[in-house]
Symmetry: C2
Subunit: 323 residues, 2 copies
């Protein structure tokens, strides 16, 4: 590589790994507990951390829902992190998750402020056959794959409390169940993320590469009975488990409970994901559809700690000169 671009970015000193934001997504619950245990054992060994290592806090986000092995107690915690939610009046009885989102904001935020942790990694499971995905609502994380463009520019999820954040979503795993292969993939994913932060902090050269980014375009609900609102069809067996495989106009979409095939009526071929996610029946989402873009990430070298400090000294000296 001949051209090398050095970018000036602050180091990621504080990282939070959160599990149990949905209390029945068990890989994250057990991984956070395991990592907490490993950290305690490590502290006993009194190993000195190297400079590039961030401090990592493990957080069980919704302990009450974990206790009950339910997604949530009163309302979906992962929708409670808009500024309005976090800063609204405290009068009257709040849903448990609204109280908890403020506690988490105090611990990991405040959202949008300089005191917030540098990176939040929020662990999730899905019943959809999505493999390991990174989901971000913010536009500037190079390692994201699924991208929710928010029209009102306000993110609502726990990972938005940090300066940077993303959800790590792994499936298929039924809610209320932990599958060893999914747990192990999540553990490896978190380890990769922490390694990446160390590389980032130490000023490693990141080679340029291309990444497929799936930008969410729309949700599709199940067909429903007009009167009862009960669903009248399941995801078609030809579509089930085929997350991220192109869905073309006229492809089978649903199979009604009486056996009829309903087809995709859109004009544009799109990529389905979150196909038949259990928690989304109540949200009116049978699957989401995305447009795929290949994004080229140029080769960059993040500055080393020495360069960072030199840069800070330089800026200070320039400021002095300017006075």
């Amino acid at each position: 590589m001949e051209v090398e671009q050095v970018v000036c970015l602050p180091r990621l000193s504080r990282v939070a790994v959160c599990g149990g934001t949905h209390g029945n997504e068990l890989s994250g619950v057990y991984l956070v507990r395991e990592l907490q245990k490993e950290v305690m054992e490590k502290e006993e060994e009194e190993e000195e951390e190297e400079e590039e290592h961030p401090s990592v806090s493990m957080v069980l986000s919704n302990p009450r829902a974990v206790q009950q092995c339910r997604r949530y107690v009163d309302t979906d915690l992962n929708r409670c992190f808009t500024r309005a939610d976090l800063n609204g009046p405290a009068s009257g009885p709040l849903p448990y998750e609204m109280i908890r989102s403020r506690e988490l904001n105090a611990k990991l935020g405040p959202k949008g402020r300089s005191g917030a942790v540098d990176l939040v990694c929020d662990l999730h499971n899905t019943t959809a056959n999505m493999g390991l995905c990174l989901i971000a609502q913010m536009p500037d994380i190079p390692m994201r794959f699924i991208h929710f463009e928010l029209s009102n520019k306000e993110s609502y999820s726990l990972d938005s409390v940090g300066k940077h954040g993303f959800a790590m979503e792994i499936g298929p795993q039924p809610h209320g169940v932990v599958r060893s292969n999914v747990y192990t993939a999540m553990k490896a994913g978190v380890q990769h993320m922490l390694d990446w932060v160390c590389f980032f902090n130490s000023g490693t050269l990141f080679e340029g590469e291309s990444v497929d980014v799936f930008t969410m375009i729309k949700h599709i609900d199940y067909p429903r009975d007009i009167g009862t609102r009960n669903i009248t069809a399941a995801v078609h067996p030809h579509l089930q488990d085929r997350d991220f495989c192109l869905l073309r106009p006229e492809d089978p979409l649903f199979q009604t409970f009486s056996g009829e095939t309903l087809r995709y009526e859109g004009n544009e071929p799109l990529y389905p994901f979150f196909i038949n996610e259990g928690a989304y029946y109540e949200k009116g989402i049978a699957l989401s559809l995305a447009r795929k873009r290949r994004v080229m990430i140029p080769a960059i070298r993040v500055q080393t700690e020495q360069e960072r400090q030199a840069h800070v000294r330089e800026s200070a000296s320039e400021e002095e000169d300017g006075l």
Copy 2:
């Protein structure tokens, strides 16, 4: 076939198909609703039923749990059908499912009495990779495959309310999710069962055959932390999804969350089933182990309706002679 044994059994006139006994096992919920709709449409056509057809009632067993998409509201309905549960004092506030089990006993039973329906088919889903299984707690159903021998001879499940009964269990399907392939298999299973009842009632010759019967020997719990009782391991990836495949001594059983393999310490090779069923974490069951027996069912011909009536007339005449 030369030898033909005619057995005298009363016809199965009334059959109940129950779904939603666990409110988040959705194939049964949607199948019962679909069959209710199909029966209503059929009634509008005013087709006359043939003699061998039983009357079939479709029952949504736990509507409140279905509404909330949870296994149960207060307690597991499918454990509320012992005689003590059904006939205990009504004083004091009862759990919802105890009230409901009495309603169902009034509708489909009374358990152990001549007024009970002839056959109860109770529809269930499991997160385990068990395919389609029939489970019976009673010792005399030829079509059962999994057999729970009850030491106290008292069955506790909904299907025990009828004169005969069994659970139809299909997986893998996450709870709170309906998968089209699982729904379709269940629908076919119910249709086979109803066809079988018609053959039975019409005096069909059943050819002899052998059936593998898995008799439950014991349950195995997850390894747990002594203090918190939290699980410390998941089912080993080599065992996950291998229901009904022989588990031998020293085979991998669990993988701890720190990555260690724990092995099966039993002396006898046994057949695992209900491996990693989501609803059984709270029951302390990671998997169940069964002994397999091959049972030979001799060729039999059930008597026809005419033979039945002749038999009834003969008995009456014999009784008169005896007087």
